[in-house]
């Protein structure tokens, strides 16, 4: 692609990110500034920062790509990503803030007073953090190679380096400003081009999204195949294609059916019906469970709650986040749907994650306005990689510096940041075959099966014991991690085993809850002594000044 505006736009986003970081650095003086922004962050800024941190590569690129490929059934991703904040608001937000815990390991110690449980939680925080960081860096590598033609490692290493340096030097105060700025950038970067795209669709006399003859190419297109696939042409011709094959299509040619994509118009348009395949319904419910309950267990989400002044403010901040995130998730659907009309070649190449960055130029032509919009979208995508990686890195580094290195100093935090950023950078270089949205979904499943039961039972049930919590996290979280490893590293599976490992939440979450409750009831003698005082602290409003 020869869009000369893209690289300057990405450089500008990176520079502004670093620039605001250093503006914040002037204000960050003490360890407390670094870790919790001295709690001087207003709810609106904090909410925008949480939103900015949360909307990752999976949200910005992945959701639209999935909708382009699979249609209505994957609309549950954006709904679930937003609903996760509602679950967080209902069950966790205010009590967690009142607990005074800064990280999940802190919460384990405050609530259950167990050092060993704290260590276990530390391991899970680091695992989930890295599992979530790798696809962000990968997304950066793939995007930069799509829009600027660079080699894959360049984008991944660039984002890893910028984020590591920024977090190490600026700490969290800087990050709050950076994240808030990036939320608005991401919203603008999707909303403005979406308006132009909708107008263009009107001007083109509203071409049907699902024409009766299936999707067709609007212009003459040459497709370079990237993955081995089986194509079925409308005339019944079946062709095996290999990476590197070039296929020429004339304007008006129908798009061939690709094995493994829901390209059939009915499948794409209508939800899974009963009877034909129960696995579809299982997958949908598993996805709903993972995203609804996983958000509260993501390490970079929880850290933010400590920057609220009190429990009531934490609640109101969460509500604002829910609104901001919900507003954002209206947009990827537009890209996914219009991608069916303007970029059907992505269905053949299988590179559907690129739909957001490719759509503006494909739909609006190669004029200056279209290229500027494409550059804006690319800048937004980079903001997504930078902000989510920063948030994850801050929380993983915070846990490493306090629980692994055992030092609370600024220097210790900086050392921890380099470790926390280096490992996923190396991993991202070596595993380029993973699918961005799939891995992010697995991170949600692990969080939902380990930290969600720990938080919900810890906050609402007096009977939780340290042994019960540890057993639940080990069994439920362990099962989810096992499913992740089988999906990512294991042999390709089919049928129910594939479904149960690719979307494990529907069985691992109930497993974690029931093990936690059963073991706690069996070890009732280990109930922490001050549980009444802890419950009072978690739930009593601060206005009482107890």
């Amino acid at each position: 692609m020869g869009n000369g505006y893209v690289v300057p736009a990405i450089v500008a986003v990176t520079l502004v990110t670093v620039g605001i970081g250093f503006y914040g650095l002037r204000l960050a003086r003490t360890t407390s500034d670094f870790l919790v922004a001295s709690r001087a962050v207003s709810p609106t800024w904090n909410a925008a920062a949480i939103g900015g941190e949360y909307l990752s590569a999976a949200s910005f690129l992945g959701v639209a790509g999935l909708i382009l490929k699979y249609g209505v059934d994957v609309l549950w991703y954006p709904v679930g990503f937003a609903a996760g904040y509602l679950a967080l608001l209902l069950f966790v937000a205010a009590p967690l803030r009142r607990s005074g815990a800064f990280t999940l390991p802190d919460f384990c110690e405050v609530r259950l007073g167990s050092r060993r449980l704290r260590k276990l939680a530390t391991v899970f925080v680091i695992f989930i953090g890295w599992l979530y960081l790798v696809p962000q860096l990968q997304g950066a590598g793939l995007t930069l190679s799509t829009v600027a033609g660079s080699a894959y490692p360049v984008g991944a290493l660039l984002v890893a380096a910028v984020v590591t340096v920024n977090v190490a030097l600026g700490g969290m105060r800087a990050i709050t400003f950076v994240q808030a700025f990036q939320y608005w950038l991401k919203l603008t970067a999707l909303a403005v081009p979406a308006i132009f795209l909708a107008l263009q669709w009107q001007a083109d006399a509203r071409p049907a999204v699902t024409p009766p003859d299936g999707p067709a190419f609007r212009a003459a297109t040459t497709v370079v195949v990237e993955h081995r696939a089986t194509l079925t042409f409308p005339d019944g011709d079946v062709r095996q294609v290999r990476p590197g094959d070039r296929l020429d299509f004339a304007a008006g040619d129908p798009v061939p059916e690709v094995s493994g994509t829901a390209i059939d118009a009915t499948d794409w348009l209508l939800p899974a019906a009963a009877g034909e395949d129960d696995r579809g319904l299982f997958r949908t419910y598993s996805l709903i469970l993972a995203t609804f309950l996983g958000t509260m267990g993501l390490p970079h989400v929880l850290v933010r709650f400590y920057t609220n002044p009190d429990g009531a403010a934490a609640r109101r901040t969460t509500l604002v986040v829910l609104a901001l995130v919900g507003l954002f998730y209206l947009l990827p659907t537009i890209y996914g749907v219009l991608g069916r009309i303007y970029t059907p070649q992505l269905l053949v190449t299988g590179h559907t994650d690129a739909v957001v960055v490719l759509l503006p130029e494909a739909a609006l032509g190669g004029g200056t306005a279209a290229r500027l919009l494409a550059a804006l979208v690319a800048a937004g995508a980079f903001a997504a990689f930078l902000s989510t990686s920063s948030g994850l890195l801050t929380s993983v580094a915070g846990v490493i510096s306090t629980d692994v290195l055992g030092r609370g100093s600024v220097r210790g935090f900086q050392l921890a940041t380099v470790i926390a950023g280096g490992v996923p950078a190396v991993l991202a270089l070596n595993v380029s075959g993973l699918d961005v949205s799939e891995v992010v979904g697995l991170a949600f499943a692990v969080a939902a099966s380990s930290f969600c039961p720990l938080l919900v039972l810890g906050i609402w049930w007096r009977g939780l014991t340290d042994l019960g919590a540890a057993a639940g996290v080990l069994v439920g979280g362990g099962a989810a991690i096992g499913a992740v490893l089988v999906t990512v590293l294991g042999p390709p599976l089919t049928g129910w085993p594939a479904t149960l490992t690719a979307q494990p939440a529907a069985w691992t979450v109930p497993l974690a809850f029931s093990v936690m409750v059963t073991v706690s009831m069996a070890t009732r003698r280990r109930l922490p002594r001050g549980v009444g005082t802890t419950m009072l602290r978690l739930h009593a409003p601060e206005t009482l000044r107890l």
Partner: protein, 155 residues
């Protein structure tokens, strides 16, 4: 809804419903209240003043009264959260099942768009925000009831 919520804080309706705790007295619960001078007896003075302080120390020292108060608050907040999540569970969680057993619903179009797309792509988000907004309001009311209960100057 509101009546039910208030009843979730045990003791409140039974003890303070006839005379709701006067809000105006809240800002200075610690101050000796001159107009109620006749009710102050030595035992209470030795416990550092007002009844509000005594309730507070009951909470802090985890006496049975204090523990019952906290249990009531936790139960009220949990009941509220569970009720609203049930609403979401039925309202959103029922959709895949509904679409599965009634495929005709998926083919219904509103303004030229298929119903599932409208419900999941657009309507779900305002619905979630509305539930969240209701929760924040009701949870704050539960806490206010608890505060009133602890700080009420007189039985």
């Amino acid at each position: 809804m509101t009546e039910a919520d208030e009843r979730d804080v045990p003791g409140r309706t039974a003890e303070s419903a006839p005379v709701p705790a006067p809000r105006a007295a809240d800002p200075a619960p610690r101050a000796a209240q001159p107009r109620r001078r006749a009710r102050i007896v030595l035992a209470e003075v030795s416990r550092s003043g007002s009844r509000a302080d005594r309730t507070r120390s009951e909470l802090a020292q985890q006496t049975r009264v204090g523990e019952a108060l906290v249990r009531g608050l936790v139960r009220a907040q949990l009941a509220l959260a569970l009720r609203l999540s049930l609403l979401v569970l039925v309202g959103l969680g029922g959709l895949p099942w509904l679409f599965a057993i009634a495929p005709a619903l998926g083919r219904t179009t509103v303004l030229g768009v298929n119903l599932p797309w409208l419900l999941l792509g657009v309507a779900a988000f305002p619905f979630l925000i509305a539930v969240g907004w209701a929760y924040v309001r009701l949870a704050e009311r539960n806490e206010q009831d608890f505060t009133d209960l602890v700080q009420r100057p007189e039985r």
